[in-house]
């Protein structure tokens, strides 16, 4: 069955926060850049999937989400603290 919309939305928000924390993802706040944001987020998902040796799809699939939910260190994987 298709994922329940709010669950999907919840996962997307979680993933955004994860990518902001560890993969230097910055979301354009204005809705004018919605398409650009989606591409940018897909790129960051690819970067994270590649780091962890997951299949690089750019999609927020179950395996990618599960990896994001693992307890971990707070240091980013691709950028130091400013």
């Amino acid at each position: 069955f298709p994922a329940v919309p709010e669950k999907k939305e919840e996962d997307t928000q979680f993933a955004k926060k994860y990518l902001e924390s560890f993969y230097d993802f910055k979301e354009e706040k204005s809705s004018l850049f919605k398409a650009k944001n989606l591409n940018h987020m897909a790129d960051k998902i690819r970067e994270m999937q590649s780091f962890f040796g997951l299949e690089v799809t750019g999609e927020l699939n179950r395996k990618t989400l599960d990896m994001m939910k693992q307890p971990r260190c707070g240091i980013p994987d691709v950028r130091s603290y400013s």
């Binding site: 780091f51 939910k69 971990r72 260190c73 707070g74 240091i75 994987d77």
Partner: protein, 367 residues
């Protein structure tokens, strides 16, 4: 490393423990931190000194949520800790999330402080994250056996890129012995889903009925959270389970995955507290009994009732004539037990308990 590879420009680095977690005894916190520093000093010229007041290079603290820097913690799970690269002020400091349950054990009910501290102190010394699964600097927490914990070669390469070792080469694991070395001995041997695995230190020789070549692996390539040096191992094929023994603990695995709730103390199998380690173990598929060899005696364990049989331990020499008094490893195949002591191997008929022949330990390696 971090951008521009910040590092300490000196060999003597100080640290101070600013506060403690209520989850652990203070002495256990101090021991975990000291052990974590030792890991890094063993492969670099760095020396770490603890100070009890004033400013230290590496300030260690426990805090929850917002704690004065721009990286608030997030409650239980998620982010466990973070640390800053070498530098003045907050540089080098390590923060641990007090909302986690900190422990000195490696069970699944909390996070092992030594493992997390060793990772965070890697950052305090200038290391970034590694994507090598099984490396200490891998970003995701993995519960591991922490006794004689060894740094992954990737961690050693990373830290030595920052701090050139001046002393004799770092503690590298001894090289793998040659397959046909006539003096080759083994720590443990077991079958696994039709294959036979021979263990020595952190190395595995994998003999498969499907390929003629012997495959050479390391234990951490199959089970990253298990550290080499098993004492004994055996398979219960009916339950697709292999049990590994090291000192007074044991693990159960099914294929690559370690069953939850392990390691367990070997006393939970019924050994008296006087038994501190198992030398060898072998399961007899026909009788469903497992023989555990300790010193010059052996026990029989009933896998169906999960309990030790009465009338044991018995002397090995009394029931298995001709194989001597102690053994290092054992496995069973095609109706025979194969016992290993030093570089010799003894093939014994299981039913008659009769010695069939003696061979070299590495006779399985097409030498």
């Amino acid at each position: 490393t971090f951008p521009y590879s910040p590092k300490w420009k000196k060999e003597d680095v100080t640290y101070r423990i600013l506060n403690y977690t209520p989850d652990m005894l203070q002495a256990d916190v101090e021991e975990a931190i000291a052990k974590a520093f030792q890991l890094w000093s063993s492969v670099t010229p760095l020396r770490f000194t603890r100070v009890y007041s004033g400013q230290a290079d590496i300030m260690i603290s426990f805090a929850a949520g917002f704690h004065g820097d721009f990286y608030s913690f997030d409650g239980p799970g998620g982010t466990l800790a973070h640390a800053y690269p070498p530098g003045s002020g907050i540089g080098g400091d390590a923060h641990f999330d007090e909302d986690e349950n900190w422990t000195k054990f490696t069970t699944y009910s909390g996070y092992n402080l030594f493992l997390v501290a060793a990772h965070e102190l890697g950052h305090s010394l200038g290391l970034g994250h590694s994507n090598v699964f099984g490396a200490l600097m891998y970003p995701i927490y993995m519960a591991k056996d922490t006794r004689d914990y060894q740094l992954h070669q990737d961690d050693i390469d990373g830290i030595q890129a920052l701090y050139e070792p001046t002393r004799t080469t770092p503690s590298k694991p001894p090289p793998r012995p040659e397959d046909c070395d006539p003096h080759l001995t083994f720590d443990a041997i077991t079958t696994l889903r039709g294959e036979t695995l021979f263990f020595k230190g952190s190395y595995v020789w994998r003999k498969s009925p499907y390929f003629s070549e012997i495959e050479h692996d390391t234990i951490s390539s199959f089970w990253p959270s298990l550290i080499g040096g098993f004492d004994a191992a055996y398979e219960v094929d009916k339950t697709d389970r292999v049990l590994f023994f090291k000192d007074d603990q044991y693990w159960a695995v099914s294929g690559y995955s370690i069953e939850s709730g392990f390691p367990k103390p070997i006393q939970s199998l019924g050994f008296p507290t006087s038994v501190r380690k198992v030398d060898a173990a072998v399961h007899d598929h026909n009788t469903k009994k497992t023989n555990f060899f300790v010193g010059n005696k052996y026990w029989s364990f009933n896998e169906n009732t999960q309990s030790m049989e009465r009338g044991y331990p018995r002397k090995i020499a009394a029931d298995f004539r001709g194989i001597g008094h102690t053994i290092d490893a054992a496995f069973q195949k095609n109706g025979y037990f194969y016992f290993f002591r030093g570089s010799n191997q003894y093939q014994v008929d299981i039913k008659k308990r009769k010695l069939i022949r003696t061979m070299k330990s590495n006779s399985w390696f097409n030498c």
